[in-house]
Amino acid sequence: MRIELRSATRRVDGRRLLDAITLAIDPGQALLICGPNGAGKSTLLKALAGLVPLTGGEVLYDGKPASKWGPALRRRIGALFHESLLYDELSVVDNLLFAARLFGLPQPQGRVRAMIDAAGLRLVAREPAGRLSRGMKQRLALARALLHDPDVLLLDEPFAGLDARWAAWLADRLAAERRRGASVVVVAHEWRLAWPLADRAAVLVRGRLERLLDAAAWDVDRFGAEYRQLLMPAGSVEAGAALSHAEVAGAASMGAALPGEGGGP
């Protein structure tokens, strides 16, 4: 499903959370969105999901404004936000069964069983979601997002809390979803984990799309340097914190900053 943002803007109390963002994602493509805290990444995902209204511009799916799609569009969207969307008091099975019934999936029991197996949650299937470890809960939230085979995946920090094995599982799963034709939008502070999945990378700073570049044309370390250059002029503590958090592993290998105006080195 093709996703298109045209001058997408959201203002709240005079603050611009999203500032005239224009970009497009083709079916089967993956877009990585990174940026410091408060850059508008999560707001952008929620605007794509139709959960927060834009105050300017529009979102189009397959060329049709999202507002004109109605409920049929939501059937094609799978979402994971910072919040898990899960009911801590309900078991793993019940959480997924509820989602399956809400989406009207045929044979929900079988679909839920298959997803529980895929996410490695069989041994805790009857446990309340609130008793799961951080990583297991993240896998359950991912299972909920993937349950109905959506054409659009909107994932906020999907690798958070996953160990190496399950991060690899998620990477494989997302690659499979893309081969199926799903469009994937990933917001990640730990962008290095999501980098191999991405066709393009977008850097948001204070609601503005500062860079939109072709990930295949960029080496991960070169992108790291560019990213650092983009964030540091902001001079905020937040920007520095985001850098040290996201780039600590690769800081030593970073080369000189590269020039580049959106779209490539």
Binding site: K46, A49, L51, V52, P53, G70, P71, A72, L73, R74, R75, I77, A79, F81, H82, E83, S84, L85, L86, Y87, D88, E89, L90, D94, F98, A99, R101, L102, F103, G104, P128, R144
Partner: protein
């Protein structure tokens, strides 16, 4: 069909949650019974059997106890972004209001079913009217209460101090329902029917149409951030 499916799914989920937490039935039922004790202890001797005392005590307890569960209707959905999950369902968003309202009605009905015999027993009153008439009156009152309570719970869930403000905002909205409940209950106890208070019966039906119909149409905007 998809609306009914989503409504059924949300009610099923709320019943499962209630089974695990007891927030919407157990706690309000216990509170209603405690209020009964407080009222009985507070009344002077011999007053309990006087006309109007049962009616006032019963509805005071049911309306106050009911807010405990109703306030949680949408407050519970606010945690962990669960409301986002409901709003992402591929159905008209009004289905969420319908489902939450019907679940709230079911819980209130169980609370009434459990506590009302205790009130009749303690105040030493007989029903005075066929059971089905009681079912109609109590059912309509609780339906109206559930509709107004669910709508306001959705609004309060968007506010910072929503849970604190909830009862303060709710009771003024419920004045017509409370008046109708009292008049119709008195009529059932004294005449065995509601014919004497037909105007309150009509008002209650109208209130239900209004408070189920309008929120159903505007719910999309109520939950919009």
């Amino acid at each position: 069909m998809s609306v009914l499916r989503a409504v059924a799914a949300i009610i099923w989920k709320d019943l499962r949650l209630e089974w695990r937490t007891g927030e919407a039935i157990l706690t309000p039922a216990l509170l209603a019974l405690l209020l009964l004790l407080v009222i009985v202890f507070g009344l002077p001797p011999g007053v309990a059997r006087q006309e109007g005392v049962l009616t006032a005590s019963l509805w005071t307890a049911l309306f106050f106890a009911g807010t405990v569960g109703l306030a949680r209707t949408f407050a519970r959905e606010r945690a962990e972004g669960r409301l986002w999950g409901l709003l992402l369902a591929p159905v008209d968003r009004s289905a969420v209001f319908l489902a939450k309202g019907l679940a709230a009605f079911l819980f209130l009905a169980v609370v009434a079913l459990v506590t009302m015999p205790a009130f009749f027993g303690v105040f030493g009153q007989s029903l005075g009217a066929p059971l089905w008439r009681w079912g109609v009156v109590v059912g309509l009152v609780l339906l109206a209460y559930a509709a107004a309570g669910t709508l306001l719970s959705a609004v309060a869930a968007q506010l910072r101090a929503g849970e604190v403000l909830y009862p303060v905002l709710l009771f003024p909205l419920l004045v017509p329902v409370i008046l109708a409940a009292v008049h119709l209950t008195d009529a059932l106890l004294t005449t065995g029917g509601w014919e004497r208070e037909g105007v309150w019966m009509h008002m209650l039906i109208l209130y239900n149409i209004l408070f189920w119909g309008v929120p159903y149409l505007i719910f999309e905007y109520v939950v919009e951030v």
